[in-house]
Amino acid sequence: MSRSLAAGPAVQAGPEPPSEAMSPAPGPRLGVDVRRLSRFFLRRPGLVLSLIVVTLVVLAAFWPTLFTGRDPLLGVPADNFQPPGARHWFGTDELGRDTYSRVVHGAALSLKATLVAVAVAFVVGGALGLVAGFAGRWVEDVLMRFVDVLLSIPALFLSLALVTALGYGTVKVAVAVGIASVASFARVMRAEVLRVRQAVFVEAARSSGTRWYGVLGRHVLPNAMGPVVVLATLDFGTAVLAVSSLSFLGYGAAPPAPEWGTLVSDGRNYLANAWWLSTLPGLTVAATVLATNRIARALDGEWATQR
């Protein structure tokens, strides 16, 4: 959308106008086409389900009391190891804590970590790619070689090295995960900046005397953002998995606090007699990742190619 605002008619003279002329009612470009939207979703029940799952997770992260009135930290020793049922949807753990309320309250920590990780990757990687693509010459060479090195160290090893240096905790784990995926953001951002830099409107802006920061901020950045945002939604699922892996290994939040990966690893000791303790929190992680990946796939092309 921002593309048409910044680019003006010069660039849009490509394939856009004919397709618009063909559609029966050429309404305002920025308006939401309700019929197209509803048809898009009706044909994709999986996508609707994914949106519901993500909405529920976000709600649980911000307002856990909407879903459960129980205290996630309060144990009722008499009620320990209750299988899932009407009273305890996800059963109870060895201290008699309600697993469902622990999963609901854990959403806040896990979602926070994921958001921090994606934000770090987006900002740092995006900045690296932007500078590399815009500055060119030796700056680009140096930055992109650095990115190649980041790519050559397996992501989890890099995260583990950062955790060793930074220490334990949800935010530190999140930063470690974010740094580990900086490289792909930098690559995509640079590729986009290189593409946009060639565009006629950038040349026009330059020749009409716009300063370099004006060209960068007003013209290049908004038009190069799209694919990077799509990558961020894709990275979301990866980040949920990486954060939960690290907290499964025990580098996340300190014990009493519920966090999805930690819940799974806590249940590990009772696999033989209380299957629900690691099964159900793990299923929550899997559902969240599946849902975000499905949404990312929809953003990445399906909407644009659908007629």
Binding site: L156, T164, A165, L271
Partner: protein, 319 residues
Amino acid sequence: MRRYVIRRLAQAAGVLWAAYTLSFLVLDYLPGDPVSAMAGAGMDSSAIDPARLEELKGQYGFDKPVLVQYVDYLGSALRGDFGDSVSTGRPVTSVIADALPQTLQLTGAALLLATLLGGGLALVATYTSQRWLRQALLSLPSLGVSIPTFWVGLMIVQLFSFRLRLFPAFGNDGLRGLVLPAVTLAVPTGAMVAQVLAKSLLTALDEPYVQTARAKGAGRARVHLGHALRNASLPALTVIGLLVGQLMANAVVIETVFARNGLGRITAAAVSVQDLPVVQGVVVFGALVFVLVNLVVDLIYPLLDPRVVVAATVRRSPA
């Protein structure tokens, strides 16, 4: 061809050097005092003896300027000496060498499984003319990359060890003990292989040469396996090369889940006690494996597709 090989070798060496430098910077130069963490090693930090602290600083060279430290460390790393583990006192290289066979077994078996299962899935999914079967098979890989590996491991243990009692749940118990962790580790990797191979197979099947082969009377299976697969396997090969690093890293999680001894267990333990030399050794080793495997893949590539070398030489020649 020789210039191609030499250039790739030089690139590999450069990446390794940079990976070492990066891990040095991250581990030795970031906030936090590694020496007091080492001396404390899990204990209360107030209980550290100052004399012991100085001794450690001298031993690890932390009292020297960073640049001198770096050159010293790099020099000994080039001679294959990554220092001694802080928690056990053994040389890092022998710690890694001792743990390596177990992890190689695990990752090797997982890679084999992933290639066979992922490749098989992609082949069947693109070969079948049953729409529902194709849809079902093609939706499996995205499931495989979305579920957490540690959770898959726990579920498999629950089913096959505790319910069916077919395989041991934990430990390094020969071939039977290898089955469950290898399958678990193969799930995300196999899913990626399947995704890439299925996509490139579908693209290859649309190519004119497939039409030509069909027009000449080649059977469906022959076109699929003889013509399309050969060309479609190139991207899959690249992905397998890239996935080896991920396999090694995932072994950290899997070995923890199955309580197997190996490189992953050692890494997890080293991170827990902030054993910097071991962590750095593992990180550099991971990069080494990654670089070597991709070097091999790049060198196999021209054998499968001679155009690669030509393209690489042509692109470079004007510069």
